[in-house]
């Protein structure tokens, strides 16, 4: 029963809490719970809707598969980084946040989904290290943004309900659409509203980065896609498309420009993630009929790429003492798998060929070419900006260090980063030879 998908992480959070100070026990327990959830999600079959507290709970097979992949990525991040000294409640909080986000994804009522998303987001904010300079400011400002996002989506939900109750009016629908775009923009970390993401990435905590950069936007996309169709103003043709396309192009522009100006891999990854979410916005804008379409696939590759880059950055911190281009010099000698992860993940986020990021971008470029041809050039150029930022780091890591420094990466982290990097690298070819229905199944959201 799909309700277990939300209940299981909550139970696991309670089970992990007593072992919170023993990372060697808590981390495998938390990861096992997440993998169990993923297995449960993909083996449930075509489960019908469930009524709980008078509300319909449902997850389509494609949505379940999407969430399962994200949970596995979170589990890998937990296992790969468990040796970093972190706050004691990290794993119980992460599990509770996953539970809230899952409950949000399966709720078909926008207001309740918005509140559950907000709760999940607030719990995820607590994953940011507490006693680090700057953490308090960033955390409290994130709370403000998520509270505003929640309020915007609640208002959008009210306009949806008012419309269902027979209250018509273009102004009402436009208000709903604008509120949903604002709230969605914050939760999906896209455009100027997504500039909080690089601030999260700057802290040396891959779990917080993966949760806020990959898990939250993926879940938010599942929650908000249905609302896109219902709040489409009929009297204003192209309103949604223009709003989403403009938001997407703005996200690419800000993310691309921001990435070129950063001096550390983590912050480059943060801006690259903002830019890449612009592609998801554009994919939604080109297909505003409530289908996840290409955006579902893209958000998954994005999640995979973010995870790989965050783990690589963490290895650089550990082995070289930092992840800025100066410190990365000679990185290949000390952390070869992390360098591979950085290059593959970075180029995927930049949408460079022949990565999977490029494959999904091509479809968006084609659609954009027919809608707004001039914007295609702008979006491609911003991709170059992100690619240049990662290339700078890659060149530094491939160069030979003049003085020997640092220490070799551990086999444990290499064990996780290498398969993820290879998967990301060969995914286009894997998908090309896979049964034809599989890719379509993912893209159609089941």
């Amino acid at each position: 029963m799909i309700v277990w998908l939300a209940v299981l992480p909550m139970v696991a959070a309670l089970a992990v809490a007593p072992f919170r100070r023993t990372r060697h026990i808590a981390a495998p327990m938390a990861a096992a719970a997440l993998v169990l959830m993923a297995l449960l999600a993909v083996t449930l079959g075509d489960a019908g809707p469930v009524i709980a507290l008078g509300r319909v709970l449902r997850l389509l097979p494609g949505e379940r598969a999407t969430l399962a992949i994200v949970w596995v990525l979170v589990a890998v991040t937990i296992l790969c980084t468990y040796r970093i000294p972190q706050q004691s409640l990290l794993y119980p909080l992460a599990l509770a946040a996953v539970g809230m986000l899952t409950a949000a994804a399966m709720t078909r009522h926008l207001a309740i989904a918005a509140l559950l998303l907000e709760l999940g987001a607030i719990l995820t904010v607590m994953l940011i290290p507490a006693r680090v300079a700057g953490a308090a400011s960033v955390s409290v400002r994130l709370l403000v943004l998520f509270a505003v996002a929640g309020a915007c989506v609640l208002l959008a939900s009210w306009t949806q309900d008012a419309r269902a109750a027979g209250l018509e009016g273009d102004a009402l629908l436009s208000m709903g659409a604008i509120c949903l775009t604002l709230g969605g923009g914050i939760l999906l970390a896209a455009g100027p509203l997504g500039l909080w993401l690089p601030s999260v990435f700057q802290f040396d905590n891959p779990l917080a980065s993966v949760m806020l950069g990959a898990a939250l936007p993926t879940t938010a996309l599942i929650c908000l896609t249905d609302a896109l169709a219902s709040l489409r103003p009929p009297g204003v043709p192209g309103f949604w498309s223009d709003l989403l396309l403009a938001g997407g192009v703005l996200a690419c522009l800000i993310g691309g420009l921001g990435a070129t100006m950063q001096a550390s891999l983590r912050r480059i990854a943060g801006y690259a993630a903002v830019a890449d979410m612009g592609i998801v916005f554009m994919a939604l804008g080109l297909n505003p009929m409530g289908e996840m379409g290409i955006s579902a696939g893209h958000v998954l590759y994005r999640a995979l790429a973010i995870t790989v880059v965050c783990l690589a950055s963490n290895v650089f911190q550990e082995c070289l003492g930092g992840d800025d281009p100066e410190r990365l010099q000679g990185g290949l000698r000390y952390a070869p798998t992390a360098v591979l992860g950085m290059i593959v993940g970075g180029l995927t986020l930049a949408g460079a060929p022949p990565t999977i990021g490029f494959a999904s971008r091509v479809s968006v470029y084609r659609g954009l070419m027919s809608a707004q041809p001039s914007w295609v050039v702008l979006v491609v150029l911003t991709g170059f900006g992100v690619a240049w930022a990662f290339t700078r780091c890659a060149i530094a890591s491939l160069s030979v260090a003049t003085t020997p420094r640092g220490r070799r990466e551990s086999w444990w982290t290499a064990l996780w980063i290498l398969p993820l990097s290879l998967l990301l690298l060969f995914l286009p070819y894997v998908l090309a030879i896979s049964p034809s229905g599989w890719f379509a199944f993912f893209l159609s959201g089941g």
């Binding site: 607030i122 006693r131 953490a135 308090a136 955390s139 309020a151 601030s199």
Partner: protein, 251 residues
């Protein structure tokens, strides 16, 4: 019409109007006053008045639960508010506005404020605590100007989006409280002040939204959101205070 006559006429309609006036005043004082335990008290007052304002539309049991929720949130926030006051004492910081005005100009550096907001400069919190407290933007003239701005903004919003499905005073007070929360957010810098401003903003939004949405589940989840927000603000303020105290001890 003179102001006292307007107040008498306004409050003559019933208890809801008194609650609206009180809620607006509490939100206004939240912007103007800087004393943190007092601000927490004002937040509790907001919760009480909000419960009173919505009492006609909600079941008595729910009103009671909401009052309990307000009390719990105030207690959660009272602990770090005492702690920040203690730190102000430890670091030799007068808590008054005169000191803020004296030291504030030094921090009126747009690039530093921008960097602190975007999080690009994590060292911003490591700067001198004297400077941290002395924000020019938190001085009394600025706070009074912000309160006036909030009043103008709320009156503009109430005229532009009157929401005829709701009572006039409810719409007005919702916009008013939201605007007060918003300007307090904009001028606030310390985690606790930002947290209090955020909860004020949320209270304004709830006054409006709970008049439109009557679902028990939504109300319950909103209550949990409030409590969780207060918890995170409290924990982060403690972390911030620890960091500040540690650095002050090092000096």
């Amino acid at each position: 019409m003179s102001v006292p006559t307007w107040v008498i006429e306004f409050t003559g309609g019933g208890s809801a109007q008194i609650a609206s006036l009180g809620l607006g005043a509490a939100a206004l004082l939240m912007v103007v006053l800087t004393d943190r335990p007092l601000a927490v008290g004002l937040l509790l007052l907001q919760y009480v008045l909000l419960a009173w304002l919505l009492a006609e539309q909600l079941l008595p049991a729910i009103t009671l639960v909401r009052l309990g929720q307000g009390l719990a949130i105030s207690l959660i926030l009272l602990l770090p508010s005492g702690r920040t006051r203690q730190i102000s004492g430890h670091t030799g910081l007068p808590n008054g506005e005169r000191a803020e005005a004296r030291h504030g100009r030094r921090l009126w550096d747009a690039s530093e404020r921008l960097a602190a907001w975007t999080g690009t400069n994590p060292s911003a919190e490591r700067t001198d605590p004297m400077r941290l407290s002395g924000i020019y933007a938190e001085g009394l003239p600025m706070r009074l100007a912000a309160a006036v701005l909030a009043m103008l903004l709320a009156s503009g919003l109430a005229r532009t989006y009157p929401l005829p499905v709701l009572r006039g005073e409810l719409v007005w007070v919702s916009y008013w409280v939201m605007c007060c929360g918003l300007v307090a957010l904009l001028i606030g810098r310390r985690p606790l002040r930002i947290g209090l401003a955020l909860l004020t903003l949320m209270n304004g939004f709830e006054a409006l939204y709970l008049s439109l949405e009557k679902s028990l589940l939504v109300m319950g989840l909103l209550g949990i959101v409030h409590i969780l927000l207060a918890l995170v603000v409290s924990l982060r303020t403690e972390g911030w205070a620890d960091l500040l105290q540690g650095e002050s001890a090092l000096r």
